[in-house]
Amino acid sequence: MTEYLVAFITGLTTGGLSCLAVQGGLLASSLASQIESDMQGKSSSRKPNVAQPILWFLISKLIAYTILGFFLGWLGSVLQLNPVSRAILQILIGIFMVGQALRLFNVHPIFRYFNIEPPKFITRYIRRKSKNTSPVVTPLFMGALTVLIPCGITQVMMASAIATGNPLTGALLMFSFILGTSPVFFVVAYFATRLGERLEKYFMKFVAVVVLVLGLLTINTGLNLMGSPLSFKNLTGALTGSNTVSAESLPVVAPTIAPFVDNFSVDSEICPMLAVSSDGSSIPCGQNNQAGGCAVINSQANQVLIPTESATAPTQPPPVAAPVEAYQEIVIQVLNRGYSPEVTYAKAGVPIKLVLESQNVRSCSLAFVIPSLNVQVLLKPTGSYTIDIPAQPAGSQLPYSCSMGMYTGVIVFDN
């Protein structure tokens, strides 16, 4: 449900303007016949009725994109995009949007090529068809045709529809998004038609600014998703030195790693981060984290908690010293506004059990990805999820983010 609401709000806030920049031409064509026929009518003083064709246009567009979403979801079920290919797709979309904005600013003729025009045979066909049809059929037809020229934000949403990997979810996602774009599309199209060409020019400049910003944001989210050092956050961090990685800067206490042992038991009141492992079995990736007798790096406190004998229940016999696997556990809180902490420090050369904990989370931070490991999981709004991460070399970093690259974080490895 949340993803549909997010899609709707995305459409409402950004999609409408972005789509209008790209698809405005088709809408104008569908309005042109209505305006022309109204103007050719006897009373030239009568204002053309544009509300109705805009509505037909939008209804048709809504239906067309819902069907498209269905097929994209189906495509996603066949061909699952990994985080890196999604990041590349987002960067390309961002470049496309920036190109569109520069075209609208008329910066250089080369940017005109960012404008996707329908093939001549289609426009010719539509034009000739529209002559003999009612003012209802033309906008309906044009609205459906917008699937051929999706705007940048729509393309992002289309990529998300593919990522759902489910035809019905994909259809609902696209429906929610296009429904969200519709009010803005309607209002702006209605008033732009009424306000005349001069104001429309100003409006297009405004759209250009918005599309430019959105384009840069889209590129940035793509870079975040890739864990690129060129992302805005990493660049500013490098300039200000705020994301400099050094072991000295860490308040981590001697990151000693304890072996995982059979029948290991820890008093959870003393060490709440440590749970009792009844059978000592390892937690496979993707299972809810219920057990784990291991050293825990409490990432919030940046402390390493090492289970000791004093922490074990006194009645228990000493643990059998049969190390099965040494690993460190890192807990990251998944929040509505991102991940906490954003920077986590871990010991190099030791595998990690990364525990993602969420509590009533309703944002895209639930779609967690580690691009370099090709890990992508959809977390539950409330719950705990464990990901096994192999040992990493010292000095390396493991960036992670939400699937849209909006919320980011990094695990830093050092000795």
Binding site: G25, A28, S29, R127, R128
Partner: protein, 69 residues
């Protein structure tokens, strides 16, 4: 007769679509190929039926400035 015109006012692909509609609207015009990318349009017309001035006037009436390439 085929003439290429520069149309510097085209600001989107829809302008090209509007100009291409002249091939249906003007008698004697056999084809119009407008390119937003090149800011040009190529008009193929029969001078025995329609004059060049009439073609230019029709373009201007659509709201575009025009010069011969």
């Amino acid at each position: 007769m085929k003439i290429t015109y520069n149309i510097p006012d085209m600001h989107c692909g829809n302008c090209a679509m509007r100009l291409e509609a002249l091939e249906d609207e003007l008698q004697g015009v056999t084809s119009v190929n407008a390119s937003y990318h090149k800011q040009q349009m190529v008009v193929d017309f029969n001078p025995a039926i329609i004059s060049e001035e009439q073609v230019i006037r029709a373009i201007v009436e659509k709201g575009y400035s025009v010069s011969q390439s």
